[in-house]
Amino acid sequence: MTAAIEAEGLTKTFGGELLALNGVGFTVEEGTVLGLLGPNGAGKTTTVRVLTTTLVPDSGWARVNGLDVVKDANKVRSSIGLAGQYAAVDANLTGRENLRMVGQLFQLSRKDASRVADELLEHFNLTEAANRPSKTYSGGMRRRLDIAAALVVRPPVLFLDEPTTGLDPNSRTAVWQVVEDLVANGTTVLLTTQYLEEADRLADNIVVVDRGAVIAEGTPATLKATLGETVLDLGFSDVVAASAASKLFVSSWPAPPVLDGSTLELPIDAGPSQVMMALRKLDEAGMAPTSMTLREPSLDDVFLSLTGRRAELGEDN
């Protein structure tokens, strides 16, 4: 396998003070998805900006498709697509005009640019809105247009900077579907996200960044196994009932249950069958919880276990 993206020891300081990148380095194999996971201000966007040639690092180097992002910047630009919170579409242009403009800036003929624009609009379910200024689009539509704009020349490497931040669940699923399609067609994707769930679903590998440095790296499964776990929260009518239920699991459960007031927290590491087993145990003992929640580990949990402090999540960097 060859590397589509390589970065080594990237540093970047803004205004002489703020250390945005402090030695970030990783490798993304061709045709795989890397999830760059981290809270606000961790350096995700700065990393993407260096890799997409819009920001020159203070030190370190990076190559995309084997080309140096500083020395061969213009060649790199011809083979990448960028979409996300910082690379926008023009609000005054229609969806079709936006895509055609990008095509023409890739030196496509007007005719080719129009054809590609129409095909992309159809692919992204935007044909009906094609002739409306993009400022009338919903958040999900704008994001799809944004991704479409990054795909005009079918780049082998695609950068998605927080592609689903601020989207409703349906739009988020639609964006995920798009990414999965692209990867199935051989595109290499680097996506930044604040959501462990998103990285888990899409990424082959996850790099966790904090304060401009890589603090953990691995497949979603390894990271989750070491850093966070799914938890089944069982609520009971009172503390007495909860502690009675807790006794059922103390010796027999793979990981120790946690009693928090009238809530019993059961770690789940073997999927739905283990949840069913828990419920069966309660049923056999004649106990019934009043509430039940299955909690996926969040970036916050991962962060807490890696750094001992909570991640500061939000919409903007």
Partner: protein
Amino acid sequence: MTSIVLPQAATPVKRSKLRRSINDCIVVTERNLVAYVRIPDQLFFSSVQPIMFVLLFRYVFGGAIATPGMSYVDYLMPGIFVQSLLFGCVSTSVGLAEDLQKGLIERFRSLPMARSAVLFGRTISDAVRNVFVMILITVVGFAVGFRIGTSIGLYLVAFALLILFAFCFSWVFAFIGLSASNSETAGLMAFPILFPLTFASTAFVPAESMPTWLRWFAEHQPVSIAVNATRGLMQGGPGADTTHWVVMTLIWSAIFLVVFVPLAVWRYRRVG
């Protein structure tokens, strides 16, 4: 969504570096002009201001200002032309600052396009808009009694000279727009530059009426020079050395370009 395959990639047209830059510049210019057409209120309000200045000076201040050798309206209109076009340069800085703020420049910078295209696209589309403003102010001028004292030919020379002068001057504002922290600031930063240049000039009153120190500035600064050239071309005065003022205007235009195009492109490369 999954049932439809992604479009086949199209092959880029093989072009020389210069042809690519020209293509990029045309594409960006077109994009800016579409915005002007699509937000007509912006165009409307940028036209209202020069019209108000015409009416203000023609009817409010004009009676109190003595001009040698010609009626005040004929003296005034060349000044209004220059002022309107230069005030229009504010949209160059605001437009670029907005593109920066909204992340459009970030997208442009990630594309394999000419680094200067976004800036030329902006300044050229603003020059196109200025043609519209020039025509509008001419019509308004005629309505309030302005007449060309020379010939249509010389009026058109003045027209072209001012469009060129404003185009070159707008590069100052391209640099400002890329240096401002946001579009509001970019708009505000323009006025400390525009007010002294347009008002401490020969645009509205003869420099003779000013105190000596101010008079020296008013007589030598570029806006006065462009106004004098315009006045000479349209009215055949002051004096007969119109050619001198036209040449001086061209020299100032060249200075703006030579200094501010590299500065703006340098700023564009490292902005953000």
